[in-house]
């Protein structure tokens, strides 16, 4: 199953709900384009919900890094929500777990944006 992304607004935070696989090709390109377009439209508080993402490869990890650097370079904030065990393991292995702010409760995550 390839990736599907939908966005919704919770206050001034844009939540991106991701489903499926974020891998080289369609999935990673979709995430990149979505984040790029959101930032270009002035959305600078992004919360990526990975609860329904079954699988990420190194390209997908690279897109998380791209998303983070793109948003923060515009003085925005990019945070992660609901990591599966597999995705959490991946971020631990790549030592990126401490780079991202990770939440497991959406309400608290939304409140954490300044």
């Amino acid at each position: 199953m390839s990736a599907r992304l939908t966005t919704r607004q919770v206050g001034d935070v844009t939540v991106i709900d991701a489903v499926g696989r974020i891998t080289l090709g369609e999935g990673s390109a979709l995430l990149r384009d979505t984040v790029k377009n959101l930032v270009a439209a002035g959305n600078k508080k992004l919360l990526l919900n990975l609860g329904e993402v079954s699988y990420i490869d190194s390209s997908g990890v690279g897109e998380l890094v791209y998303s983070y650097t793109t948003v923060t370079s515009q003085q925005g904030q990019f945070k992660l929500l609901n990591l599966t065990k597999r995705v959490e393991d991946l971020l631990q292995i790549t030592k990126l777990y401490t780079v991202f702010e990770v939440h497991d409760d959406e309400t608290r995550a939304v409140r954490s944006f300044s």
Binding site: L24, D57, S58, G62, R86, T94, V99
Partner: protein, 141 residues
């Protein structure tokens, strides 16, 4: 189910998907649990992307050879490209310093993390030859 299959694949992203599916299917037949199959599938995916994109540079004139060996105790996969090969010791560590925030360069790290045995060398023809082994039980980890 044991045996060896030797397959030539085009240097395309579709080959990455088909290689992953082929290996995961064999791993399932051998009785590897879902986590182990996903680990192996990810490692295969990373090795295939390396071969297709970095080794063969998506050249239609180059192919990737995939040798899949299923044994009672393990799945062993050899992936050989027709590129220039590489020296593992010269690959930057993606977890260190400025490499940490690079968008690429983590494939080899993930391959090594998700299989029980990993090796890379130059093939007889000069390309990269990557060997990945996943045991049927946790005894090898």
């Amino acid at each position: 189910m044991t045996g060896i299959t030797d397959t030539l694949l085009a240097s395309t992203l579709a080959s990455v998907d088909s290689a992953e599916a082929m290996v995961v299917e064999s791993a399932a037949a051998l009785g590897l649990d879902e986590d182990a199959r996903m680990d192996l599938g990810l490692a295969i995916r990373e090795a295939m992307v390396n071969a297709v994109a970095h080794g063969n540079a998506y050249s239609p004139e180059k192919q990737v050879r995939l040798i899949l060996e299923t044994r009672p105790d393990a799945v062993r996969v050899t992936i050989i490209d027709q590129g220039e090969g590489f020296d593992l010791n010269k690959v930057p560590d993606p977890t260190q310093g400025e490499n940490l925030m690079r968008e690429s360069g983590r494939g080899l790290l993930l391959m090594q993390a998700f299989v029980d045995e990993f090796s890379v060398k130059r093939s007889a023809a000069g390309g990269a030859e990557v060997v990945l082994v996943k045991y049927a039980s946790d005894t090898g980890r």
